[in-house]
Symmetry: C2
Subunit: 461 residues, 2 copies
């Protein structure tokens, strides 16, 4: 019998695709701490979330018990336009590294949003439309989430307002134009269309805006407009549920080629990609079926897992959301402006935070010049231009593959390639021209962020 | 027996992928007229091409006899990183049009160059490397070809110099940065590094450059640098050979679902995509096995097939290449500056020109506002942002599907979706803001182009 060569790209057939999402919480013996209503400091209820989120999404946010959730037919229909995403064997990267390791990556960039964000956008837009809502609002910084949501809302015929951080609105006119092509109403934030925006403009008419301000405007617009709700692309439990499609497809594809990862690597900002990629493998870990190493990779300049505190904090910088217990640098933490590689969020998904706290996964931080070095090396071997976010995972995958070369171990390494970098060329140019520097905050630099943590009894390291 | 639903996306397995390109000329009873050496007006020989093209590519250019050409293992290895491209069933477009037609499209945009150009770039870079060349040159306007060639050259470790039209160099810094990420040396054209560039700069120091000038510089640099050759991404016979992978994959995928197109639609600039897509279907037509309708779609503002002359002409505006007999508006024809949709080439692949002349295919021209209308409609149904070039084919596919609705015919329509539009958002914005206008040249407007045609005996309509 001859050993059949594993193909470079493995696509599931439509019949083989998962028809259910997987809810990681159902297999966690130790649950994440409950969200708190900031007014009462009591656990938030599903109903507490209704003014902001549509009902089914509020339910999913709170539902830790249902292990598998049917993917609605209409969402599957949309998935079938850009999924399955390929599981890729990085033969040419392996060859360039001369490593005995087998390297796989799940590539989520082959869709117009350029990232995995679309997986949750379509689910959220579908439930909103089904519930009879007449509009959604969100914020976007770099624009991937705004694009993904605009694609989903255009498909379901749901009006969308995107508050785009003003500096991005002005510097990234192409992103704005893509969202507009999908009928999204893009407003530069701060704007005069909300109380929050007007207040900030009055104080500082020339501000370039911030994600915190855009969130405040989007939430205000949603709660003050009948039939309108707010949606968010990361951090939330519901988002991790929808993103489990990444891991479920990956595991299924690996089974077809009789593989199982020794090591799973994902970049971590708010946790949407990492949580989705690892979901079914973490299930194996939680249920004792297997024990792969799982590594979260974050930027050295925004190191929530590796240097943050496991504490109750607000999910937004404007401190209007419920509080969640998570690894956080404090909602007042601002990453250095020279940080180009995405993953700027001050906190981390409460589910992933709990799993990390309980020892089910590891975390490392990497400097951005090493990230871009890995990105350009990868691009030339595998002919994909990666998003800087994704390149954090590439960096660590390369480092681990090099260790395998030293030890001679033929480990199976899996990493998540979350998206493409077409809209990040300013950062690439900066790297290529030698103008990129690294920033690692000192303990002193982290103090203001920690000082912004809400002072409540549960707030413990 | 239940009728199994055809999936939304059909991917061949690696085993099912074509291992040979198909050379359309081998089945043409009437061959295209030979290229002419402009100095002698005699048919150009393979050796005449050696100073400009590498030997194997010069051979392929002249070889009308070999029906199937083995795809080198190394090129297959590269193809496997981004191919097969999906054959897509446009269920949601069909639904939105309420048409009985079945619409399929072959999507070539899922790679970093964003288009089908990579299919020939990797072949050309491979042969150049194999022959021991030490460098390649080319020109690029919008940048898709330059990006594709940079990806291929980076993979094979071959230095590349790209002369980029100065106005694009300045207005599209992101494209430039992508090429640089893949180690391409990008020079704004006109430059002081060539005789041709210096001459143009001396006459007009502030010029934004032109594709004609960039070609002149790239060819000069290639012929004056030992071990260096020039490569081109369209028009040539060798390019159509490499691009046949598009049609071969498509036909194979359609056989798997027991389909055959009644109608095949492709956009046509120089002909690289159209020639590749239709190749095996045209074979059926030429050999009497089947008789699908084949429609080339071109912009009304640059209508080489529908309003050009079938005449000998230069392939470049600088009149330094051999002459080919083709449908042409004259190398002196300049498309209107308000034309945003690509496909600006004055001529057309000699192979396609001959087939059109002999009645094997049809051609239509479409106005750009109708093209962008189709593009935005398609984007919202199929969640892919198309390149303006590709949207010419979408426009005609939609028009034909609407005719099917009127007549009640359930035709099978296939079109080529050549790429994505991320770098064309200026044009999209212009359309969305209502600032886009149409331009249809009058007969008077076409006169200067026709006057530029070389005055030789074979020059007949």
């Amino acid at each position: 019998m001859t050993m059949k060569k594993i193909p470079h790209r493995i696509y599931l057939t439509e019949d083989q695709m998962p028809r259910q999402w997987y809810n990681l919480r159902a297999d966690m013996k130790e649950q994440p701490d409950p969200m708190l209503n900031p007014a009462t400091l009591k656990p938030a209820t599903q109903e507490d979330l209704y003014p902001v989120f549509c009902k089914e999404l509020a339910r999913q946010e709170m539902d830790a018990a249902t292990r598998y959730v049917d993917i609605p037919e209409e969402v599957q229909e949309f998935y079938h336009m850009y999924r399955p995403s390929p599981l890729c064997r990085a033969y040419n990267l392996e060859k360039a590294l001369d490593t005995p390791a087998k390297i796989y990556y799940k590539f989520e960039g082959n869709n117009t949003s350029g990232s995995h964000k679309l997986n949750s956008a379509v689910a959220q837009a579908y439930y909103a439309k089904k519930e009879g809502l007449t509009g959604l609002t969100t914020e976007t910084g770099a624009g991937q989430w705004g694009t993904a949501l605009a694609e989903a809302c255009a498909f379901f015929g749901l009006p969308l307002t995107v508050f785009m951080v003003k500096v991005s609105f002005e510097q990234k006119p192409f992103r704005k134009a893509v969202i507009q092509t999908f009928d999204g109403n893009v407003i530069a934030s701060p704007s005069s269309s909300t109380e929050a925006g007007r207040k900030i403009l009055a104080e500082n008419p020339n501000t370039g805006g911030s994600l915190g301000c855009a969130i405040s405007e989007a939430v205000e617009k949603a709660v003050s407009t009948p039939g309108c709700r707010y949606v968010l692309g990361s951090v939330l439990n519901q988002v991790l549920l929808h993103q489990s499609i990444i891991g479920l497809e990956t595991k299924q594809a690996m089974e077809l080629i009789d593989e199982y990862p020794d090591l799973i690597i994902g970049c971590a900002g708010g946790g949407s990609n990492l949580g989705g990629l690892i979901a079914p493998f973490m299930q194996d870990k939680l249920t004792g079926k297997a024990n792969p190493r799982i590594i979260a990779v974050e930027p050295a300049s925004c190191p929530s897992l590796t240097r943050g505190r496991y504490a109750y904090d607000f999910c937004d910088t404007a401190r209007i959301t419920p509080m969640a217990r998570m690894y956080t640098l404090g909602s007042g933490f601002m990453p250095s402006p020279n940080h180009a590689g995405g993953l700027r969020y001050h906190g981390m998904s409460p589910i992933l935070s709990k799993l990390y706290h309980d020892g089910f996964m590891e975390a490392v931080s990497v400097e951005q010049t090493r990230v871009f070095e890995a990105a350009t090396f990868f691009a030339k071997q595998e002919t994909i231009l990666p998003a800087p976010e994704s390149a954090h995972a590439i960096r660590t995958a390369i480092d681990e593959a090099k260790k395998c070369k030293e030890t001679g171990e033929a480990k199976t390494i899996l990493f998540g390639l979350t998206g493409t970098g077409y809209f990040d060329m300013t950062a690439y140019s900066s790297y290529l021209e030698g103008n990129m520097s690294d920033y690692i905050p000192t303990d002193e630099d982290l103090k203001p962020g920690f000082a912004s943590l809400p002072d409540i009894p549960q707030n413990q390291r």
